[in-house]
């Protein structure tokens, strides 16, 4: 347990606070206000859970990016899962998707109506479910970024190797770097630095952000998920901005290598191929998704069951899209905390354990 306590040490936090304040003061002297974005939902939650916003000076703002996979998943995807459930297929999924509203209902509501929806902690449970004697037809809801994509690619590979006949995946898999490029290009977003995700970077490698830095001159710092990791990452971003530098800095060297995890990359490339993907709030970003390769079509729920993921109807008035782009903080949405709460969520950012609205509601009201 020294691991956790070591990365939550109060004295080290005080030291980092002084460096944050010093860098912010240098920027303030130059008349600059800066806007940083934590891309990853796990960062969003850790920042809220440890109260790290209290460490930022007035001229530094920190907004959440599109790095919560549930949040950026289009309502139409839930509609397709509901359609499969209605046809009697057993839906296996990670827990937070169960409460995400589709155009007309959630999977939790469908379950209360009799649909078979099974919550898994590990995707391997879904395959085991489909391979048990007398097993039902199982569709696993594959939603996630590179960190999740890698094990899901392995899951597909095991399903193929085992010749599983009652298992397929409804894929809504996304990749981070292209989304960051889309955000960097958007003048309305106006981000000055990215706090890059920890575990996504473990898969794709620190070098994956180099093109972003070269093209947009925007500092990218990779930080771990512990509070000291995050504070150290923010110190680096502010110091880069105060110095007028823009580089990729990998501070999470205990996990992330420049080239990433080659084995994971190979598994992903073997099973999946890049496609255009629709992101809630960001629209369609070319090449930012991953679909199951044609030769494994029998394991692709869309092709196996003839369902299509069509654009869904987001709830009227829901501003998750603007929250996901970092344009507004959650409490600027008129529904926040009133019509939309974690118990009765309207938008996905309020549902997911990593959603910025949920984080704001839980920890910062």
């Amino acid at each position: 347990m020294k691991y956790l306590d070591g990365f939550r040490d109060p004295d080290a936090a005080r030291f980092l606070r002084r460096r944050l304040e010093a860098a912010a003061a240098r920027l303030a002297q130059a008349g600059r206000s800066v806007r940083l974005m934590e891309v990853c939902g796990t960062h969003t939650m850790a920042i809220a859970r440890h109260g790290l916003r209290d460490f930022l000076s007035d001229n530094v703002s920190l907004c959440s990016g599109p790095g919560c996979p549930v949040c950026v998943t289009d309502a139409g995807y839930i509609d397709a899962a509901l359609e499969l459930a209605r046809r009697g297929v057993t839906i296996a999924t990670f827990g937070d998707l169960v409460r995400v509203p589709g155009s007309s209902a959630t999977l939790a509501e469908a379950r209360a109506e009799g649909a078979r929806v099974v919550v898994c902690y590990s995707p391997a449970e879904a395959l085991a479910l489909a391979r048990a004697p007398g097993a039902p037809e199982v569709v696993f809801l594959g939603v996630g970024f590179e960190t999740t994509v890698a094990p899901l690619a392995l899951l597909l590979r095991s399903a193929v190797a085992a010749g599983a006949t009652r298992f397929s995946m409804l894929a809504a898999l996304k990749t981070v770097p292209r989304a960051l490029a889309a955000l960097a290009e958007d003048p309305e977003v106006g981000v000055n630095g990215f706090l890059c995700p920890a575990h996504v970077s473990a898969v794709i490698g620190a070098a994956a952000y180099e093109p972003l830095v070269e093209r947009y001159r925007i500092p990218c710092t990779i930080a771990g998920f512990e509070p000291l990791d995050i504070l150290f990452g923010l110190v680096d971003l502010l110091e880069q901005l105060a110095d007028g530098r823009a580089c990729v800095v990998n501070q999470y060297t205990r996990v992330v290598r420049p080239e990433g995890n080659r084995k994971a990359q190979a598994a992903i490339a073997e099973m999946l191929e890049p496609v255009d993907a629709a992101w809630r709030g960001l629209g369609v970003i070319p090449g930012s998704g991953l679909a199951i390769r044609e030769r494994f079509a029998a394991f692709d729920a869309e092709r196996r069951h003839g369902v299509a993921v069509r654009p869904g109807r987001p709830a009227p008035g829901c501003r998750c899209g603007d929250v996901l782009k970092g344009k507004i903080l959650p409490d600027a949405c008129p529904m926040f905390g009133g019509a939309c709460t974690p118990e009765h969520p309207v938008g996905p950012c309020m549902v997911s354990g990593e959603g910025s609205c949920a984080a704001h509601y839980k920890y910062a009201r």
Partner: protein
């Protein structure tokens, strides 16, 4: 689509559980001892004042490190009586068995009930058995109800809280929930984590003449300490509670499992702990008496009542501040 249906989250001990009770149960039984939904009712019978409560147990798996559904069913009801300010005396025991349940397992559970009852100094006075067809329940569900003698001097409630009052915890929080979770997920915790299921009545009896200084007392079961802290505040918006993360008692094993599964230990159930708010001058005495008992050895002051506006705030270890909210629901179905 499922408006008007029970969701799993209604059983989570968080805000939806409260909504269910307040909207559907409350209006039908208003004005009696159920008012305010205490875990146990204080009622007058003849000339005596008793504490009366009931609880059902559907925990899965039925055996977990540190206990089983049998002792849990005794402790749960004994503890609700105790924190209601009572000395537990009598229990009822009702079993709902699924066709096919091994008799040897049932015997094991009943032995566990008997041992726990002896340890808590309560007698099983009445009971019932039902059997349902295979598939109509999951193995075994247990219900216990309990009656205790009301102890003198306790007058507890949200309206009694004052700024400066101290919040105490009788030991590590969240071990039960994390031990059950680890058992369910087949996680290897190397014997370093066990449920804290156990009786708390001796912790309550030890308060003795300090009873009038106690403002509020609960066992933080389903919904965890966070739910209890919000219950403590009730509808009051003139006070709040501040907790200090560095003072929160969490075991190394529970912290490790919580990190892996992404749980906030303030949302996780304990089954042998007390959270108590008392006047500041009483706090050191309560702590001393608790620490003299094995079940209170890890007792600590964890925070205090403030003039905040109905909020529970955590001062984090690294020096930030954040809200402590109630859990939303489906974190751990069938935890007790």
């Amino acid at each position: 689509m499922a408006e008007g249906k029970i969701l799993l989250a209604h059983g989570g001990g968080g805000r939806l559980s409260r909504e269910l009770v307040e909207r559907h149960v409350g209006p039908r039984f208003a004005g009696g001892p159920l008012e305010g939904f205490p875990d146990a009712a204080r009622i007058a019978v003849g000339g005596a004042s008793i504490v009366f409560t009931t609880d059902s147990f559907v925990v899965s798996p039925r055996r977990f490190p540190g206990g089983d559904i049998g002792c849990l069913a005794v402790h749960g009801t004994v503890n609700d009586i105790a924190v209601g300010g009572g000395r537990p005396r009598w229990l009822s025991l009702a079993l709902i068995c699924e066709e096919g349940l091994a008799l040897a397992e049932l015997d094991g559970v009943l032995d566990s009930v008997a041992r726990a009852a002896a340890r808590c100094d309560v007698r099983v006075a009445t009971g019932d058995t039902k059997v349902v067809a295979r598939g109509q329940c999951d193995g075994l569900y247990v219900n216990t109800a309990g009656v205790g003698e009301a102890l003198p001097g306790f007058e507890m409630g949200a309206e009694k809280l004052r700024p400066g009052d101290v919040v105490l915890a009788s030991g590590d929080l969240g071990d039960h929930g994390m031990a059950v979770m680890a058992a369910r997920a087949g996680m290897n915790v190397e014997g370093r984590l066990a449920s804290d299921t156990g009786p708390v009545h001796r912790l309550v009896l030890a308060l003795d003449e300090l009873a009038p200084a106690v403002r509020f007392m609960r066992d933080p079961t389903r919904g965890g300490a966070a739910s209890v802290l919000h219950e403590m505040l009730g509808d009051r918006d003139d006070i709040g509670i501040v907790l200090r993360e560095r003072d929160l008692p969490f075991s190394a094993g529970a912290r490790a499992v919580a990190e892996v599964v992404g749980a906030d230990l303030l949302h996780v159930a304990s089954e042998g702990r007390v959270l108590l708010v008392c006047a500041p001058e009483a706090a050191p005495v309560v702590l001393e008496r608790w620490r003299a008992l094995p079940e209170g050895a890890g007792a600590r002051a964890i925070g205090e009542v403030t003039r905040d506006r109905g909020r529970v705030v955590l001062e984090t270890a690294v020096g930030g501040r954040r809200l402590v909210d109630v859990p939303q629901g489906e974190l751990l179905p069938r935890i007790c």
